[in-house]
Amino acid sequence: MLTSILTKALYTLISFFVILNYSLLLLGTMARVRAKVQGRIGQPVWQPYIDIIKNNARRSGVTHGIMFYLGPVFRLAGGLGTYFFIPVIFGSKIFANFSFSGDVLLVMYFIFFGQLGMALGAGESGHPYSPIGVARGLAQMTAFELPFSLAVIAVAAQYGSFSITEIVAAQQGGWQNWVAFTNPFAMAAGMLAFLGMSMNNPFSIVIAPQEIPIGPPTEMHSSFLGMLQTNRAIFNGAKMVLFMNLFFGGAAHPNIFIALGIMIMKTFLIYLYVVFVGVSFPRFRTEQSIRFFLGVPTLLGLIAVIQQMI
């Protein structure tokens, strides 16, 4: 019993270590990509590390109350939990995480855990910009949630399972078995929803209040901010792994390092797509993005679902 718990703890640490470092590097890389598009040199790739270390080392600390204090904790717990409920590498014990706790529905709902906690924490600060950001974020979230859930429903219906492991298993044996090709409408709906989920342009109105000097994350300073930055990396990684599993065949190979390489390549491309769209389009207003998600992406999702019904 004890050995199995310790082994699980070790595996969890490894998994955590891999995703943290990979995601931080990915953030740094993408920042440079963006800079290149805009004609700048940009930050060093390791800048996210510097930020997190610096913020954690800050000595000043101001809190507005318990919820404020717990907000970043909720947020990071949400990111970590989301990641830990997803099996990262198909067939790998080390990277199976805690996926035995529940299926894709659990992951979909656990995403909200951190968002809710963070929203509450930012709310207690008393700054008007934080609820403005939250209201925008939530409103947009419900909108992209619709095509995303339709996509998930279509995939689950296609394979008769909500289990991520089984969905990935069903996609093995070549790229032609990926959902992206067997169920392209579901993939399209899901990937359009993913644009909203990652809050890049054109769906970045949510973080607009942060750009004026004070809003949710920047009101959080020092170690609070450090925690949020850590989460941003992990949460991003978790979401990309989820989409890779759902639509692009997951990452599977007998050799764990090759499998990790596949995971890195696929998620890198998924993120690149988001950044590509982000640098190409200007920002939507909230109601515009709601209308967008309830338009074409939802229609694609509906087509995917109706395909499964017929």
């Binding site: 000595r59 000043s60 600390g61 101001v62 109350g65 919820m67 204090y69 717990l70 970043p72 904790v73 717990a77 970590l80 409920f85 805690f98 035995f100 706790s101 529940g102 299926d103 529905l105 659990l106 709902y109 855990f113 809710l116 929203a119 509450l120 709310g123 600060s125 008393g126 700054h127 008007p128 403005i132 209201a135 939530l138 409103a139 419900t142 909108a143 619709l146 859930s149 339709l150 429903i153 279509a154 689950a156 219906a157 399972s161 909500f162 289990s163 000097p213 004070i214 170690s223 609070f224 450090g226 925690m227 909230t286 109601e287 709601i290 209308r291 999702g301 509906l302 109706i306 019904m309």
Partner: protein, 1078 residues
């Protein structure tokens, strides 16, 4: 024993003697009159006793047998009818003598006795010409009574009455003459016995018309309305109760003759009676004069009794109480039904007429002038009971009679008859309840004026409701009180007879009502009463526990244990709150009774009791008049649909659908939901929690136990597979999911917190309907799971919010803010509740979502699943808004300083619910396994591959381990927390208003709370989805009904000549309907 003729003689003697005796002293004649009236009543009762032993009493006048002399006959029907007449006569006489400002003197009393003489004669005599004489005596004395007084309108009313009476007598007399010419007889019994071949059409037509005109049929009843409106309330009661009763008995006397010789006339009378009932109620809804409205109701009730009497199939019912009474009194079932309706109408209507005497004014125009009797029990209790009796709600005789009639019609397949009665009744419910609600509305209540959703400002709750008028001295209320007491006793007796034989338990809510009302009366401290209420619920739970099975046990826990916990909340305040506990306990026991009833009558009885008790809970709210009217209208409309389906015996899918719609109305499904937000929100804050978390599950439970009827397909023979698969469940599924989405959407845009929660309840009920309609093991487990968890989190929310409203004095969220510092426990309670509601793991809510999607996917309802996911996303929006705008952000000026945490008694039940939620979250199997056991009998788990593996529940599609989720969540939460506490050791806490944004400190941080119109962008994008369509639709229905009523009403022009013309039209119409030609 007195022979009937003595009554006639005594009344005659009194009529002559009183003016003389008056000279000897006014006290003497009053005492004497009352004694004689009491003697009449006693005599009629003694007749009942005698008839039971010896049969009908026949009294020969002048020592000869009929036809030589006139004979009087009193059988059971007449004796009981006379008992009613004499009872009302006694009460009315006493009322006129003791209560009225202008009391009756010798002259009026003399007329009164002449009237009683006439009525007694009408009922007793068997001679047709003699009947005419008594009719004339009645008319003249009544005319005299009507015009006594100086009001000009009374003369006019009296004059119209004389014209109508004259025409009626004329028709009658000519009819008698023709009849004599054809048969050579005037004695009824002999004419019936001589079953000759004579063509009696014309004489019987004229005879019937003569009697019917006195019974105020449509359209020849305009004169009656003017009489009711102008007469003083006492006389109104006399006409409505005594006259009508006597004339219906006369009509019943003629019925054998009509049935033998004039089937066409019976048919015409049936049509006219149905029309009268329906149209009088339709026109009644436009009334602004209270007494005229009661007049319409009287016309309608008369029509109803005639309709029932003349309907061939009305007496088929084999209802237990009915058969016992019929065999006890040796009457036909149809006679018992008619008698019950007569007594019900006579006593309740006279009580209402007397009660209008105490109102400041008769008109019902402006809400500000109403509310005379808010908080005045002495007036409200009899008035409320009389309204319940007239609208045929339990436990009054009208309820049992109506049940008997409707089930008889159902058995005979007489759908038209059911429709006429139920739709007409619904209209009557509308205007009677509107009147009642207005008489007790709070002074600040906007009435049924459509109020804006967001009030401009919300003043703190005023503690004592203004009592308005009082009746001094209180004994003046004796007449209505007594008649209601007698009526109630009769109804209870019937209830006992009906429900004896295994269902006595169903009477407990009434006992509870009486008992806890008694506690109110003897002014026990509220805490004591509440403890007694808890004890009562506990005792009741113990009583029914043995009768519960797996399924009912779950609902029993929701209804009774859930309520028991929430009763702690009531210790919150110390004021008396009379009437709260009686109705609350009654409601909870009625809900409990839904679990143990054994017959469809038992079910319907409990269902109606639940409706009635919850109505009286809703109406207690300070601005609840509009909400309570809607509540009772929709509830009863639903109940009537249920009644129809029960009577029809679920023949075919359409009846099943009607039944389902009846339940859906009660559950507030989309389209019928407009009663729900108002009822939940405008009820008192402590009551809302019971309504939303407990009462709302009643419909769901009935859905479960009637599940068998929803699988019927509409097009069983259709070749098309899709068409053939459409059943009621398919419809329920779509209604459920759309309700869920609409509820969430509408909750989003409310500024008033209670409206937010109310709409949220609507949405949650939608999920339950959806899950139920899946009709699988997992689907049903989901529905039950949602029902139980909804009790917990919605109870938490409403209780926490009750505390917040109590402390802040406002229901508008944008006026609050920053309360987390002052009310931390309430915050935690709301936080847990919204996590549980939204479905975020690791709390119980996620289990509901997981079960729901798994079962939907198994069923293949992918689109439902997508919509359900979308609505659960929308739920996030309003939940965040709710917790943010109340507890986070910045408080308003002046609001913050003086606020304390909610009282401890409000927190105790919340703590209990929180512990239960945490327990179920840690160990979901504790909840799910009993639910599975409950549905196992209908849908076994194994058939669908639902299984447990340790603490992981497996469906055919996925898996979920609630305990593991909890541990992982705790792990990922505690480790970062520990990290943060290590690196962030020296943290500085700043004060509430210490904020900086946009690079400066705001001058007035109190003004920076972002709360009003929180989701304006959402409204811009999707607001079109929640335009007030349902509201508009029902308003349109109300307005067009109103307009129709106005159209009918327009024929009553108030002109005596027009009225005479109506009578002629009526005669021609009647003749044509009866199959006559010219």
């Amino acid at each position: 024993m007195v022979t009937p003729i003595v009554i006639i003689a005594a009344a005659l003697a009194m009529a002559f003697l009183l003016p003389v005796l008056e000279k000897a002293g006014k006290g003497l004649i009053k005492t004497l009159s009352l004694l004689v009236l009491a003697g009449f009543f006693a005599a009629s009762l003694s007749w009942v006793a005698q008839i039971l032993q010896t049969g009908a009493i026949i009294s020969q006048t002048a020592g000869f047998k009929a036809p030589v002399s006139i004979n009087l006959s009193v059988s059971m029907m007449e004796a009981t009818g006379l008992a009613v007449i004499y009872l009302v006569a006694l009460l009315s006489g006493a009322f006129q003598i003791f209560v009225k400002k202008a009391v009756w003197q010798g002259k009026e009393l003399s007329l009164y006795f002449a009237l009683i003489l006439g009525l007694s004669g009408l009922v007793m005599t068997r001679d047709l010409f003699n009947l005419f004489v008594f009719m004339e005596i009645t008319s003249i004395s009544l005319y005299g009574l009507l015009v006594s007084g100086r009001d000009e309108r009374r003369f006019e009313g009296g004059f119209k009455y004389m014209i109508a009476g004259g025409l009626s007598s004329a028709f009658y007399l000519i009819g008698v003459a023709f009849l004599y010419r054809e048969t050579g007889q005037l004695n009824l019994d002999i004419i019936v016995a001589q079953s000759g071949q004579a063509n009696l059409y014309l004489p019987l037509l004229l005879l019937t018309i003569g009697i019917l005109i006195e019974l105020k049929p449509f359209p020849a009843n305009g004169w009656a309305l003017d009489v009711y409106e102008s007469a003083d309330p006492g006389t109104g009661a006399v006409i409505s109760a005594m006259n009508t009763t006597a004339l219906i008995l006369v009509f019943m006397k003629l019925m054998p003759l009509l049935q033998a010789f004039g089937s066409g006339i019976v048919y015409a009378a049936l049509i006219i009676a149905g029309l009268t009932f329906f149209l009088a109620n339709l026109a009644g809804i436009r009334q602004t004069s209270g007494r005229r409205m009661l007049g319409y109701s009287s016309l309608a009730q008369t029509g109803l009794i005639l309709f029932v009497l003349l309907s061939p199939s009305a007496g088929l019912s084999e209802e237990r109480g009915l058969s016992i009474i019929a065999s006890m009194l040796r009457l036909d079932t149809i006679e018992v039904i008619a008698l019950a309706l007569l007594i019900n109408h006579a006593l309740a209507k006279s009580a209402l007429f007397w009660l209008t005497e105490f109102l400041k004014k008769d008109a019902l125009h402006k809400s500000s002038e109403e509310g005379d009797y808010r908080g005045n029990r002495g007036w409200l209790i009899p008035a409320g009971m009389a309204v319940l009796a007239l609208t045929a709600l339990p436990p009054f005789p009208g309820f049992w009679a109506k049940w008997a009639v409707i089930t008889s019609f159902g058995a005979a397949g007489n759908i038209g008859g059911i429709a006429v009665i139920l739709i007409g009744s619904l209209l009557e419910v509308y205007y009677l309840f509107r009147w009642f609600i207005r008489t007790q509305a709070h002074g600040e209540d906007g009435g049924d004026v459509i109020a804006p959703q967001v009030p401009e400002d919300f003043a703190p709750e005023a503690a004592p409701a203004p009592a308005g008028l009082t009746i001094k001295p209180a004994w003046q209320i004796f007449a209505p009180a007594l008649s209601i007491i007698i009526l109630t006793s009769l109804g209870l007796a019937w209830a006992f007879l009906s429900l004896s034989g295994g269902q006595e338990l169903l009477l407990l809510p009434l006992a509870a009502l009486a008992l806890y009302a008694l506690f109110d009366l003897i002014a026990l401290p509220f805490a004591v009463k509440n403890i007694l209420a808890m004890a009562g619920l506990g005792g009741y739970a113990y009583l029914i526990y043995g009768e519960l099975n797996n399924m009912t046990l779950i609902f029993g826990a929701v209804f009774i244990a859930g309520s028991l916990v929430q009763l702690f909340l009531l210790f919150n305040k110390r004021d008396k709150r009379s009437g709260l506990l009686p109705f609350l306990v009654m409601m909870i026991l009625s809900l409990g009774n839904l679990l143990v009833f054994k017959s469809s009558l038992g079910f319907f009885f409990s269902w109606e009791m639940m409706t009635v008790s919850s109505f009286f809970l809703v109406i207690r709210g300070r601005q609840a008049s509009r909400a309570s009217l809607r509540y009772i209208m929709f509830s009863l409309a639903g109940a009537f649909m249920i009644m129809y389906a029960l009577a029809d015996g679920f023949r075919g899918p359409l009846t099943g659908l009607v039944f389902a719609i009846g339940l859906l109305i009660k559950m507030g499904a989309i389209g019928f939901h407009i009663w729900l937000p108002g009822a939940y929100a405008e009820a008192e804050d402590e009551v809302s929690t019971f309504l939303s978390s407990v009462l709302s599950k009643a419909g769901l439970f009935i859905l479960f136990i009637t599940a068998g009827i929803y699988g019927q397909t509409f097009f069983p023979g259709a070749g098309n597979a899709f068409l053939a698969s459409i059943d009621i469940n398919a419809i329920l599924g779509w209604i459920g999911v759309i309700t869920a989405l609409a509820g969430a959407m509408m909750a989003l845009f409310q500024e008033d917190i209670k409206y937010t929660l109310a709409y949220s309840s609507m949405g949650q009920i939608g999920y339950m309907i959806l899950a139920f309609s899946i009709q699988s093991h997992l689907g049903w487990v989901t529905a039950l799971y949602l029902a139980v968890t909804h009790l917990l989190f919605k109870g938490l929310l409403f209780m926490a919010i009750a505390g917040v409203i109590m402390r802040t004095g406002t229901r508008l969220m944008y006026q609050m803010g920053g309360l987390i510092k002052k009310m931390p426990i309430s915050f935690i309670s709301v936080l847990l509740a919204i996590i549980a509601l939204s479905g975020v793991p690791p709390l119980t809510g996620f289990g509901g979502k997981w079960l729901l999607y798994s079962s939907l996917m198994e069923k293949g309802w992918y689109l439902h699943a997508g919509l359900a996911m979308f609505s659960s996303g929308v739920a996030f929006l309003y939940l965040f808004r709710l917790i943010h705008t109340i507890f986070l952000g910045q408080p308003k000026t002046g609001m913050f300083e003086n606020i304390k945490e909610a009282p401890i008694w409000g927190l105790i039940p919340q703590a209990i619910f929180m512990m239960v939620i945490m327990g179920f979250s840690m160990f979901p199997s504790l909840l799910i396994k009993p639910l599975q056991a409950a549905v196992e009998m209908v849908y076994p788990a194994a058939a669908e591959g639902v299984a447990w593996q340790g603490s992981t529940v497996l469906s055919s599609l996925g898996y979920w381990n609630g305990s593991a989720v909890m541990y992982v969540t705790m792990g990922v939460f505690l480790i970062p927390l520990a990290w943060l506490m290590i690196v962030n050791g020296r943290i500085q806490k700043v004060k509430q208003f210490n904020i900086v944004f946009a690079a400066e400190r705001p001058y007035k941080p109190e003004t920076t709370h972002y709360a009003y119109n929180f989701f304006s962008h959402y409204q811009k994008a999707l607001g079109f989805l929640v335009e007030v369509r349902a509201e508009r639709f029902w308003t349109m229905i109300r307005k067009s009904t109103d307009a129709l009523g106005g159209l009918v009403r327009r024929i009553y022009s108030g002109n005596a000549q027009t009225y005479a013309f109506h009578i002629i039209i009526f005669v021609i119409l009647f003749h044509l309907l009866a199959g006559g030609t010219f």
